[in-house]
C-alpha cells in the first residue's frame, strides 16, 4: 500500500469528521510518512508501522468521542432517502394503497356478484325443480280425482243397470247382493285406483327427481365449466407472462455479459430488468386470480345437497 492509497482509505474512515479536521489529521500522517521516507524507509514500511487501518481509524474517531462503528451507518446515508424522496414515496404508497383498495373492492364486488349469480341460479334451479314436481303432484291428484269420479260413476251405472234384474228375481237378497257387489267392486276399483295412483305418483316423482338431478348436474357442469375456463384463461396468461419473464431474464443475462464486454447497453439492461419484474408480477397476479374449488361454488354445492 502506498502513501496515496493509505491516505485515501483513511479519509474514507474519517468521513464523519469535518473536512478541516480530516485534512488536519491526514496532513499529520502524510508528514509522518514523508519523514520516514527521508530517513530511508519505503512507503510500505512506514505505513506498516501504523498497524491496522481499522484500529487506527477507530482510535482517531475515539479522540472525537465518535463511535467507531458509526462509519458503517454513515456510509449508508448517501443511499438513504431524503425528506423529499420520502414524501414522494409516501405519495406513491398512498396512490398504491388507493388502487389496492379499489382493486380489492372490485374483486370483492366481483366475488359477491358471482356468489349472487350462483345463488340466483340455484334458487332458479330449485324453483324450476319444485315447479316440475308440484305440477306432477297436481297432475297426480287431478288425475286420481278424475279417475275416482269416473269409477264411481261407472259403479253407479253398473249397479243401476243390474238393479232391476236382481230386484225382480229376489226381493230379500237384493239389498245384500247389491251392497256386496257394490262394495266388492268398489274395493277392487279402490285397490286398482290406489295402485295406479301410487304407480303414477312414483313414476312422476321419479321423473321429477330425475329432472331435478339432471338440472342440478347441468348447473354444476356449467359452473365447473365456467370455473375451469376462468382458471384455464388465467393460468394460460400466467404461463405466457412467465415465459416472457424468462425470455427477458435470458435477454438480461446476455445484455449483462455484453455490457461487461464494453457495449453501451446499460439502458437496455435496465429495460430488460424492468421487463423481468413486470412480467414476473403479471404472472404472479394472473396465477393468483384462479378460483379454488373451496370457494363460492363448492359452498353452493353443499347447500344444494340439503335434500
Amino acid at each position: 500500500m502506498n502513501k496515496e492509497k493509505f491516505l485515501q482509505e483513511l479519509r474514507g474512515y474519517l468521513q464523519v469528521l469535518e473536512d478541516q479536521e480530516q485534512e488536519d489529521i491526514l496532513e499529520e500522517y502524510s508528514q509522518h510518512i514523508d519523514m520516514k521516507l527521508q530517513k530511508g524507509l519505503s512507503e510500505e514500511e512506514a505505513i506498516r508501522d501504523f498497524g491496522s487501518m481499522k484500529e487506527l481509524a477507530a482510535e482517531i474517531l475515539e479522540a472525537y468521542h465518535v463511535k467507531p462503528g458509526f462509519r458503517q451507518r454513515n456510509m449508508t446515508v448517501p443511499f438513504s432517502l431524503t425528506k423529499k424522496e420520502r414524501e414522494s414515496g409516501k405519495f406513491f404508497r398512498s396512490v398504491a394503497d388507493f388502487w389496492k383498495g379499489k382493486f380489492a373492492a372490485a374483486v370483492h364486488g366481483g366475488k359477491n356478484a358471482i356468489q349472487w349469480l350462483g345463488r340466483k341460479c340455484r334458487n332458479f334451479a330449485d324453483w324450476a325443480a319444485r315447479l316440475f314436481r308440484r305440477k306432477n303432484d297436481y297432475g297426480q291428484t287431478a288425475e286420481a280425482g278424475r279417475m275416482q269420479e269416473r269409477i264411481s260413476v261407472g259403479t253407479d251405472i253398473d249397479s243401476m243397470s243390474q238393479l232391476p234384474e236382481r230386484y225382480g228375481r229376489n226381493d230379500n237378497g237384493i239389498n245384500q247382493n247389491i251392497k256386496q257387489e257394490i262394495s266388492n267392486k268398489e274395493m277392487n276399483q279402490e285397490s286398482n285406483k290406489g295402485m295406479m295412483v301410487s304407480g303414477m305418483g312414483k313414476l312422476l316423482r321419479g321423473m321429477g327427481r330425475g329432472i331435478g338431478m339432471l338440472w342440478r348436474g347441468f348447473l354444476g357442469l356449467c359452473v365447473w365449466g365456467l370455473r375451469t375456463a376462468w382458471n384455464l384463461g388465467w393460468l394460460m396468461l400466467s404461463v405466457f407472462c412467465a415465459c416472457l419473464a424468462m425470455i427477458a431474464l435470458a435477454g438480461f443475462g446476455t445484455l449483462a455479459v455484453l455490457l461487461f464486454q464494453g457495449y453501451p447497453l446499460a439502458g437496455m439492461l435496465i429495460i430488460s430488468l424492468g421487463a423481468i419484474l413486470c412480467f414476473g408480477a403479471l404472472a404472479c397476479g394472473a396465477f393468483s386470480m384462479r378460483i379454488r374449488k373451496n370457494g363460492t361454488i363448492s359452498q353452493s354445492e353443499g347447500e344444494v345437497q340439503y335434500e
Binding site: I25, E28, G51, A63
Partner: protein, 107 residues
C-alpha cells in the same frame, strides 16, 4: 510490554515530552518511541484528543525542509493535568511495586 500498560501511560509520556519543549508530531513520536515501543499511528489520535480537550495548543512553524510543521504546546490546563497524572502514576506504581515486594518477602 503489555499493550494495556502502554496505553495507560502513553498519555503521561506525551504530556511530559511536550512540557520540556514544544514539539511537532514526528519528533514527538520518535521521543515517545525511545521510552516505550509503541505503534506510531496511535500517537496522532492521542495528540488530537488532548488538543480537543485543550491540554495542547497547536501552531504552525516553517521548517527548512518540507512544509510547515504543526507544533504542540502544553497549556496551563495541560500542565495541571500532567501533574495530576504524574501524581497518580507515582502512587499507582508505588502501590503495585510495594505489593509485589511484600509477596516476595513471604516467599
Amino acid at each position: 510490554m503489555n499493550p494495556q500498560f502502554k496505553k495507560g501511560v502513553l498519555e503521561l509520556i506525551v504530556l511530559e515530552s511536550v512540557r520540556k519543549k514544544d514539539m511537532y508530531g514526528y519528533e514527538l513520536v520518535e521521543e515517545v518511541s525511545e521510552v516505550i515501543d509503541v505503534n506510531e499511528g496511535t500517537i496522532y489520535p492521542l495528540l488530537k484528543r488532548l488538543t480537543n480537550e485543550h491540554y495542547f495548543e497547536t501552531y504552525l512553524r516553517e521548517s527548512s525542509e518540507g512544509p510547515p510543521r504543526k507544533y504542540y504546546h502544553l497549556t496551563a490546563a495541560g500542565i495541571l493535568y500532567r501533574d495530576s497524572l504524574a501524581a497518580e502514576w507515582e502512587e499507582f506504581q508505588e502501590r503495585v511495586s510495594k505489593f509485589l515486594k511484600e509477596r516476595d518477602g513471604y516467599e
